[in-house]
Symmetry: C2
Subunit: 329 residues, 2 copies
C-alpha cells in the first residue's frame, strides 16, 4: 500500500522541480499550500473539472490517456477564455483494489503521470498542488491561467450579425467513444485519439484575442454549448449543417447521420466555438494556420432567439449530451 | 435527473452573487473559467483537498457536515500557511443512486450547500468555480488565499531550541470518529462536532504571523505531521505527553490510553502545529486569546533527529494515520 506523500513525491513532484523557479512558484508541492507570484496587470482565470471513471472515460482506458485527458479538459476551459495557462492542481482518487499488486499500481501511475506531464509541459503548465486519496477512480484538475485585463472571452459577447465558427473538426469525441464501445483500441486511430487524447486549443485561444466576441469550448456538444452562448449573449443562431467540419474518418466510419449527430450533440470535442465579425474571419484564419488549425464558419447570430438550420432541417432531435446523466450520444 | 448547470446555478451561485463584486471577482461561476483580480504585492497560496465518502467521512454523515467539512479541511491548509482565504472552487461528484428520488437529492443538496456556504461566508471565501459530476460521492475543494511576500509559514523554518506548540485541543477528530462508529449521532457532542465540523484555524494563522517559525495543520496526526515538520526543518523533537491538550470529554469518554493515542496519531484535528521562539510564546498566546483559542507548548526542537517523549515513553507504537490506506486510529 502506497502512502500519499510517497505517491505525490514519486510521480508528481520530481519532474516539476526544474520548471518551478521559472514559473512564478516560490514554494512548490510538499508544503500545506503552494505559494505563487500572481501575474502583474493580468487577471487570473481559474476553473475546475472532474473526470470520473465510467462517466468521462472508460475503466479500461490506457492510464496515459486518463492522465492526458483529465488535464486536457480542464485546460480547454482556459483556452475558451483566451487565457494563457500557468499552473494546475491535481486531486487523484485512486482505487488500488483495481490493481493486482503494488507493481501494477506503480505501472499504472507511471503511465498516468507520463500522460499528465507530457501535456502539462507542452502547455508550460506547472503542477503546483496535489492530493491523492483512496476511492473510485476520479481526477479533479484545477487550472489557473492569466489574461490581460479586459481581453478575456466570455460567453456573453456575441452580437446579432456575428458569424459563428469552430476550430478544427467536430464529432471526433463522440465518434471515438462509439468506436471504443465497438472494441477499437488503437489510440492511433484518428477518432479514438480525438476522444481519448483531446488537444486543448490554448494557442488558438491566444491567437483569437481581439477578434472573438464570445467563445466557449465544445464539451457538451455543439448545440448544447451554442445554447449556453445564445443564452448568455441573448442572440439566436442559424447553423449550416453542410458547413460543419466533420472529424477525419467520422462519416466514412459511422455514416452520415451518426456523424452529423456526433458533431451536433456528441460533445467531448474540446474545440473552440467562437463568434466574430465577418470582417475578422480571414485574419483569424491566418492566425490559426501556423497552428495547423482551421477555423470554419458554420453559421451566424440572429435576432430571433432559438437555433435553426439554414436548410430548414429539424434540429430538435439533437439533444445535448448531459455529462451528469451519463447519456451516450 | 438534475443537469449540471441547474445544480450549480441552484445551489452554488445565487448566494455568492452578492459577495463577488467586493472580493476581486470580475466574472463569476457560469462561464468557462472565473476571472479574478490577484492581490497586488501578495503571494497566492493555493491548495487542493479531496474528501471521499467512506474514507474521509461516513456515508451517513449529515449533508450539512459533509459540505462544511470538505471546505474546512481545505481551508485548514491556508491557515497553516498564515494565509488569508479569498476564493475556492468546488468539484462535487454525486451519486444520485443513493437517493430515493429527486426530492431526496434536493434535500441533501440544500443541506450540503448550507454547510458549505455557512463556512465560506464565515471566512469571507468566495466560491468562484464549480463542477458537478456523477459518481461515488466525493468533493474536491481548491482554496486560494493571499499572504504578504515572505510572511508565509513553511514546514522548513523550525530551529533547534524552538518550542513546539499546538492551537486548541487534540484527539477530538479521532475520538469523534470512534464515537460515531459506536453509534453516537448528536452533532452537539463536543467530540462528534470536532470530527464532523472542524474549524479551520485561519484567524490563528493570521495572528501568528511574524511569530511562528514553521507551521502545518494536524490532519494526519500529531506525530505524523510533526515528522513532516522535522524532516523539512532537519530538526528533532522532544514531546511532553503530559502537556498534550486533550479535547473536551476525550479522556472521560474513551479512557486515558485511547485519548493519548487519538491525540498523538488520530488525525483530523485541524489544529495548527507551530514552532516558535520561547520569547514569543506569551505574545502568541495573547493574540490567540481573543479568538477563544489556547496555544499550548508541548515540546521543543532538538538537534538529534527523531522524536522522543520527555518522560522516556515509547512513542514507536503510535503510528500515523494514513488517509490513503483508510486505517482507523
Amino acid at each position: 500500500m502506497l502512502a500519499e506523500f510517497d505517491l505525490i513525491r514519486r510521480y508528481f513532484m520530481s519532474s516539476q522541480e526544474a520548471s518551478t523557479a521559472s514559473n512564478g512558484v516560490t514554494l512548490g508541492c510538499g508544503d500545506d499550500a503552494t505559494l505563487l507570484i500572481p501575474p502583474a496587470g493580468q487577471q487570473l482565470a481559474v476553473s475546475v473539472d472532474t473526470s470520473v471513471v465510467d462517466v468521462h472515460f472508460p475503466r479500461e482506458a490506457p492510464a496515459f490517456a486518463v492522465g492526458h485527458r483529465a488535464l486536457a479538459v480542464a485546460l480547454s476551459d482556459l483556452a475558451a477564455m483566451g487565457a494563457a495557462s500557468r499552473w494546475c492542481l491535481m486531486a487523484l482518487t485512486l482505487d488500488q483494489r483495481q490493481f493486482a499488486d503494488d507493481e501494477a499500481t506503480h505501472a499504472w501511475l507511471d503511465d498516468y503521470a507520463l500522460g499528465f506531464h507530457a501535456l502539462s509541459q507542452q502547455h508550460a503548465t506547472t503542477l503546483v498542488g496535489g492530493d491523492v486519496t483512496s476511492g473510485a477512480l476520479s481526477i479533479g484538475v484545477t487550472v489557473m491561467g492569466e489574461v490581460p485585463v479586459g481581453e478575456a472571452f466570455t460567453r456573453g459577447g456575441a452580437q446579432v450579425g456575428d458569424l459563428i465558427a469552430v476550430t478544427g473538426a467536430l464529432g471526433g469525441g463522440a465518434g471515438g467513444l462509439a468506436l471504443w464501445q465497438q472494441g477499437e483500441r488503437d489510440l492511433a486511430h484518428p477518432l479514438l485519439s480525438r476522444y481519448l487524447l483531446p488537444q486543448p486549443r490554448l494557442a488558438a485561444g491566444l491567437a483569437l484575442r481581439g477578434l472573438a466576441t464570445a467563445a466557449l469550448d465544445i464539451s457538451d456538444g455543439l448545440l448544447a454549448d451554442l445554447a449556453h452562448l445564445r443564452e448568455a449573449s441573448q442572440v439566436g443562431a442559424v447553423i449550416a449543417l453542410d458547413a460543419l467540419p466533420l472529424a477525419d474518418q467520422l462519416e466514412s466510419t459511422l455514416g452520415r447521420e451518426t456523424a452529423l449527430r456526433a458533431a451536433l450533440s456528441g460533445g467531448d470535442d474540446y474545440e473552440l466555438l467562437v463568434t466574430l465579425s465577418a470582417n475578422d474571419v480571414a485574419t483569424a484564419q491566418q492566425r490559426l494556420a501556423p497552428l495547423g488549425l482551421t477555423l470554419t464558419v458554420i453559421g451566424h447570430c440572429c435576432e430571433a432567439l432559438g437555433v435553426s438550420a439554414s436548410d430548414q432541417s429539424d434540429l430538435s432531435g439533437y439533444a445535448g449530451w448531459q455529462h451528469f446523466s451519463g447519456e451516450a450520444p
